[in-house]
């Protein structure tokens, strides 16, 4: 094993650790939402600093790798992909924090009817599932698994589109529900963006191992 291999292995470990933290942030954000657990929401917001510091560390490690090892071919693609995955993960962390801020801004728990109408449970299930799958694809360097994500992200997009309609109907039934409805719509939008970030990560995994650029296709 050459020195660069050890450095790349370390980079993968750091990225995986950040991934696990970000995934737990998303999971906790949902638990906080479903149970109206404001303490848990505050915990997610506090943990965002850890996500940010991990992002900075991985950025700096990538910079060192470029400067000290001048990686080429698959090594170059690995470091480039890691840089982008790192940014995507940090954004997912931001979105988890954003969801929790919406939870804190609501005095009362979100209406159960709203939760049901928006299909947020289904959305979360898909988000968690694809996060786990993409992590597995990243660890096992499995581009076939990474490709399965694109189809699943479409489910999120569909739910998101349907949710707008459903929430509009919900608000229409009672004008006092406007604030909660809009707040909730923002959460849905954020979850949909989590799906986009995960899709970007899957594209980076494929780029890293197959040198294929799937962006903007």
């Amino acid at each position: 094993m050459i020195h660069l291999d050890r450095e790349l292995e370390q980079l993968k470990k750091s990225t995986t650790a950040m991934w696990v933290l970000v995934q737990s942030q998303i999971e906790k954000a949902y638990k906080a939402l479903a149970a109206n657990d404001k303490d848990l929401a505050r915990e997610v917001i506090a943990n965002e600093k850890r996500v940010n510091s991990m992002e900075l560390k991985i950025d700096s490690d990538c910079e060192d790798l470029f400067a000290l090892y001048s990686p080429v071919a698959s090594d170059l693609r690995t470091v480039l992909a890691t840089l982008k995955i790192n940014t995507n993960l940090e954004r997912i962390g931001d979105l988890a924090e954003g969801i929790c801020k919406h939870i804190l801004s609501e005095e009362k728990a979100f209406d159960k009817e709203l939760l049901k109408a928006s299909e947020i449970q289904e959305m979360y299930d898909v988000v968690i599932e694809i996060m786990k799958d993409v992590l597995k694809a990243y660890i096992k360097e499995d581009t076939k698994l990474a490709r399965t994500i694109f189809k699943k992200d479409e489910i999120l997009n569909e739910i998101n589109m349907q949710a707008t309609k459903n929430i509009t109907e919900y608000i229409g039934s009672d004008i006092s529900k406007i604030e909660a409805g809009l707040n909730f719509l923002s959460i849905i939008r954020k979850l949909e963006r989590v799906g986009d970030q995960i899709t970007n990560i899957a594209e980076e995994i494929i780029f890293s191992h197959e040198a294929k650029v799937l962006k903007h296709l």
């Binding site: 050459i2 660069l4 291999d5 001048s70 990686p71 080429v72 071919a73 698959s74 090594d75 170059l76 693609r77 040198a211």
Partner: protein
């Protein structure tokens, strides 16, 4: 801003150098195996590969320098401007004028800067003083050395720095107006600043010359060449656009070599 090397479409369609099924033996030992390659005019081609892979041997085939080694046997074709330079009727000395060579270690003659550059012209029988002076100036300018030595042309070439000596050797090669420059690790004995100057020079020279460079410095190959050829144990393993070789080579052997996982 990174200047991209030429794309396939932009490369000159005219082939300046070519080998077809070239095999070379040093006695019983086969140093080149069935090497076929085509190099376009006005491009820089880098030969990379581990020591003993045959890249320098192959480079020397293009000015028939291997002929000077005892026990060498060559079969296959080596073409310059579509003419096989190993055919019997070829005047080797005339063909060598088309091909300048620069070696790893700067090797100026123990003469003045001026006489080093004028040397090739004089042995070719050039008598015109003004032509020689003009050509020396032209060659030194082409080699990006003129500004540094114009006031000391009659100083000994041995007294200038290693980087300047190497550029002087390039000027000496250029003075006889070749169309091809072969360079065997031209910057490996130089400091980073001199290396940068040589690399810049190669970049400029390709407008007028077809350049082939052997290098162990992979980053250098990546920076200066349009196409890269990877050799291993006398075989040409992969030959492609440099950009492709260093981002996504087709052969695993190339990938292993350029990423340092060779052997």
């Amino acid at each position: 801003m990174v200047q991209k090397n030429k794309s396939v479409k932009e490369l000159n369609p005219e082939y300046k150098l070519e080998s077809r099924n070239l095999n070379l033996f040093y006695g019983q030992k086969q140093a080149l195996r069935d090497v076929s390659i085509k190099m376009s005019a006005n491009t820089v081609t880098a030969f990379i590969g581990p020591s003993g892979c045959g890249k320098s041997t192959f480079l020397r085939c293009f000015n028939r320098m291997n002929d000077l080694i005892e026990g060498v046997k060559i079969d296959g074709d080596v073409l310059i401007d579509n003419v096989d330079i190993y055919k019997n009727e070829i005047d080797v000395y005339e063909y060598r004028k088309k091909v300048g060579m620069v070696f790893q270690k700067p090797n100026p003659f123990p003469k003045s800067i001026f006489e080093n550059v004028a040397f090739g012209l004089r042995i070719n029988g050039e008598k015109s003083k003004s032509y020689i002076e003009d050509t020396v100036e032209y060659a030194l300018k082409q080699a990006a050395l003129w500004e540094e030595v114009k006031d000391s042309l009659h100083k000994s070439a041995i007294a200038i720095s290693g980087g300047q000596q190497q550029r002087l050797c390039i000027a000496r090669a250029i003075a006889v107006k070749p169309s091809i420059l072969l360079m065997d690790e031209p910057a490996s004995a130089l400091d980073p600043l001199s290396t940068t100057k040589i690399e810049e020079l190669i970049h400029t020279l390709k407008d007028n010359y077809t350049i082939v460079i052997v290098t162990h410095n992979m980053q250098q190959a990546a920076r200066i060449s349009d196409k890269t050829a990877y050799f291993y144990m006398g075989e040409l393993i992969e030959y492609d656009l440099t950009e492709k070789i260093f981002t996504n080579p087709s052969r695993i052997e190339t990938e292993n070599y350029i990423t340092g996982r060779f052997g």
